[in-house]
């Protein structure tokens, strides 16, 4: 089992966290999110992202507004809600702790 396969469950779980972080910096639409992720280990597809975003919106972590696009149908631009920001802050903190634990353990 390659390291890539081993971490697939973890990557899947972290995707929500990364999406929060991407949306936190600016208003984005799905193609932007995919593009930013495409060069990372977390590259994903619309089929995964849309259900995830819709669930996060239902949990009131994010919201969207419609914007006309110069080419094609109007687009949904996503942004974080206050709850989403809070969640991102908590997650970052927790992630820092995990990171610290990973580095610290086993060192004497």
């Amino acid at each position: 089992m390659s390291i890539n396969e081993k971490f697939s469950a973890i990557r899947k779980g972290l995707l929500e966290f990364l999406v929060l972080q991407i949306i936190a910096s600016e208003k984005v639409y799905v193609a932007d999110i995919l593009k930013q992720l495409s060069t990372t280990q977390f590259a994903t597809q619309e089929g995964t992202l849309y259900p995830l975003l819709s669930r996060m919106r239902r949990q009131e972590l994010l919201d969207y507004e419609w914007k006309e696009s110069e080419a094609g149908p109007p687009r949904k631009y996503y942004q974080l809600t206050a709850k989403g920001r809070e969640q991102l802050r908590e997650t970052l903190e927790y992630w820092g702790e995990i990171n610290g634990t990973v580095k610290k353990l086993g060192q004497k």
Partner: protein, 387 residues
């Protein structure tokens, strides 16, 4: 030359080659099925349609206004399969199934919904926590989502009245595994609330309807419906149990040989019973035991019947589990069944023949049988009138 189909995606018309259209239709239908039960299903589907439309647009120009099949498949590959969000779809599915199953979706409470959803298939385990003996009743109660006390009561009643409760208990204590790991413990509790639903409906529906009856006919009609429903529940239950056994019964070739042997024992028991019954009716004695004059013959016959039932119940149970076990392998089933039936019949007839041949009293008793029946009927009649 390819046929072109025009479709509407996100409010704009696109022209697709026929093969591409089919591919897109299959993709969207699959997505729709995948999202079954997701509260945002419609929205996600239109998001996806819009995303596809946008991708089509980048592949079209003023000189090219038809999306080719290979372009459609490329776009769909880019989109990727619809990932089901964990816990959502399975959950909604479970409650949806429950709703269609019971025909009363809005009555399902939130608690039941969360209890019934997203969980691994339930299995029967013994649960030691809070157990009285081996945790069998506890396990059954968890499996069916009812109070363990009710199950214990049922076992006690079964033991007192039919003698089977104890045997079933011992067999289950041996056969049913104990829930040890957390996963097993989770799997042990709750089977989509059939029993609970049954009891809840019985209580709620019955008393609710009792309160407001417009008339006698309505009451009768309602009573009939209630009974029918209960019967349907019971049938469903029996079916569940039966299919559970058929799936889980151990299949062993030895069962093929055990089955006729068990049948033989049961045949002997049946013949003994018949002999005892005949001798009771004819001479008033059962295996040398003289019936006291205060006990009517028909009461003694009833007692004899109950004794026979108790004696034969474990044999019947063992035979049934043999049937279920053998039912799993297609070839063994008819063979064993046939052999079993033949042996059973042969034993009963042979023993009856021998008994009649060697005991002249029996022969006389059979000749005197009609008058004995007459006598018994008279007994019952006088008892009835005397009351």
């Amino acid at each position: 030359m390819n046929k072109v189909i025009t479709i509407n995606l996100g409010g704009n018309a696109y022209q697709l080659e026929e093969g591409g259209y089919d591919a897109l239709r299959v993709y969207l239908e699959t997505a729709s099925a995948q999202l079954q039960g997701n509260p945002d299903r419609g929205e996600i589907l239109s998001d996806i349609e819009r995303a596809i439309a946008e991708k089509f647009r980048t592949r079209l120009s003023s000189h090219k206004n038809v999306v080719e099949t290979k372009e459609v498949t490329a776009v769909l590959t880019e989109m990727g399969p619809i990932e089901v969000e964990p816990g959502e779809t399975a959950c909604a599915n479970a409650s949806g199934a429950g709703a269609t199953g019971s025909g009363s979706g809005q009555e399902t409470t939130g608690v039941e919904r969360t209890a019934g959803c997203g969980a691994a298939p339930r299995r029967l385990y013994r649960i030691q926590e809070g157990a009285m003996i081996a945790g069998v009743c506890n396990g059954i109660a968890a499996y069916m989502n009812i109070d363990p006390t009710l199950v214990r009561l049922a076992f006690v009643l079964l033991t007192i009245f039919w003698g089977t409760g104890l045997i079933v208990y011992v067999v289950m204590a041996i056969v049913v595994p104990e829930a040890r790991s957390p996963e097993e413990k989770a799997a042990a509790s709750g089977f989509p609330a059939t029993a609970q639903e049954f009891i809840r409906r019985a209580k709620e529906g019955y008393y609710e309807a009792m309160r407001n009856f417009p008339g006698r006919n309505a009451r009768r009609e309602w009573h009939r419906r209630f009974k029918r429903e209960m019967r349907a529940h019971a049938n469903q239950w029996r079916y569940n149990w039966h299919s559970y056994w058929v799936r889980h019964a151990p299949c062993h070739p030895g069962m093929g040989f055990a089955l006729p042997f068990l049948s033989l024992l049961q045949g002997v028991a049946t013949v003994l019973f018949l002999c005892a019954l005949i001798s009771l009716l004819a001479t008033g004695t059962v295996f040398g035991l003289v019936l006291s004059a205060s006990v009517p013959v028909w009461v003694a016959a009833l007692l004899l019947l109950i004794a026979y039932g108790i004696l034969v119940a474990p044999l019947k149970l063992a035979r049934r589990s043999c049937y279920w076990g053998l039912g799993q392998s297609r070839w063994a089933w008819p063979f064993a069944f046939f052999l079993d039936a033949i042996i059973w019949l042969a034993v009963v007839f042979a023993l009856l023949f021998l008994a009649i041949h060697f005991f002249p009293e029996l022969r006389d008793a059979i000749h005197g049988f009609p008058s004995v029946i007459q006598q018994a009927a008279d007994d019952i009649r006088t008892w009835w009138h005397g009351k």
